[in-house]
């Protein structure tokens, strides 16, 4: 059983629309991450979020992306004005320090 739950499992959206991907931890954690994996390719870091603030972000995480924890529980990734190349699996993970990061089952995002 994953230690984080992601919804939806699959999201289909028209290009240019906004999408919100959600991550819900099973237990109370402060450190979260978003990664993406384009089909058949490697996993790429997007952003880390600690104590309700962005801790690190990659070059991929530009102004099109944002993260927040609006209700103290759900951890969301928002993608504005989606593009075809945003189609990928998006994984939420939690973890801290030297411990391995534990990944959710992912959200498959398909941009049409």
């Amino acid at each position: 059983e994953p230690e984080v739950t992601q919804t939806p499992s699959h999201q289909v959206t028209q290009m240019g629309q906004e999408v919100i991907l959600r991550c819900v931890p099973i237990s109370n954690h402060l450190y979260f991450y978003w990664y993406r994996q384009i089909l058949g390719q490697k996993v790429e870091f997007l952003v880390s979020f600690y104590n309700n603030e962005i801790s690190e972000k990659s070059e991929i995480f530009d102004d099109q992306f944002s993260v927040e924890r609006p209700d103290g529980s759900n951890f969301t990734l928002k993608i504005r004005s989606t593009k075809l190349e945003d189609s990928a699996m998006y994984f939420c993970a939690r973890g801290v320090g030297n411990q391995p990061q534990h990944f959710g089952d992912g959200t498959r995002l398909s941009i049409l």
């Binding site: 994953p2 450190y31 991450y33 990664y35 390719q41 490697k42 996993v43 790429e44 870091f45 880390s48 801790s55 690190e56 990659s58 994984f91 973890g95 801290v96 320090g97 030297n98 411990q99 391995p100 990061q101 534990h102 990944f103 959710g104 089952d105 992912g106």
Partner: protein, 112 residues
């Protein structure tokens, strides 16, 4: 910029055989992780290697870390079909938070 390279990218082997997957990285680090990914699934943590000379074993898999050579290996002993999956190594930079940089993955296919 940290670069992580795995080889081979694809490995087809017979059951019962031994083989090694290699993970090279470009910048000093003593935090290296191995993950397994089944098709269409999430990433499952296999090993955490935190120091030079670290060796971890679980079943038919054994991982090691040589921080001086910036090299980690994942050795497969007497492969079985159930080990068929894609294996990723991931590196976290020292004193640089918890952002993981993944290798390109090694797709392993074990034939009966």
């Amino acid at each position: 910029e940290l670069k992580v390279e795995q080889n081979p990218l694809f490995l087809s082997m017979q059951e019962g055989k031994n083989y090694t997957i290699y993970c090279n990285y470009s910048t000093t680090s003593d935090r290296l992780y191995w993950y397994r990914q089944d098709p269409g699934k999430s990433l499952e943590s296999l090993f955490v290697l935190l120091s030079n000379g670290a060796v971890k074993q679980e079943g038919r898999l054994m991982a090691s870390l040589d921080t001086k050579a910036r090299l980690s290996t994942l050795h497969i002993t007497a492969a079985v079909h159930d080990l068929s999956a894609t294996y990723f190594c991931a590196v976290a930079l020292n004193n640089a938070g918890n952002m993981l940089t993944f290798g390109g993955g090694t797709r392993l296919m074990v034939k009966p």
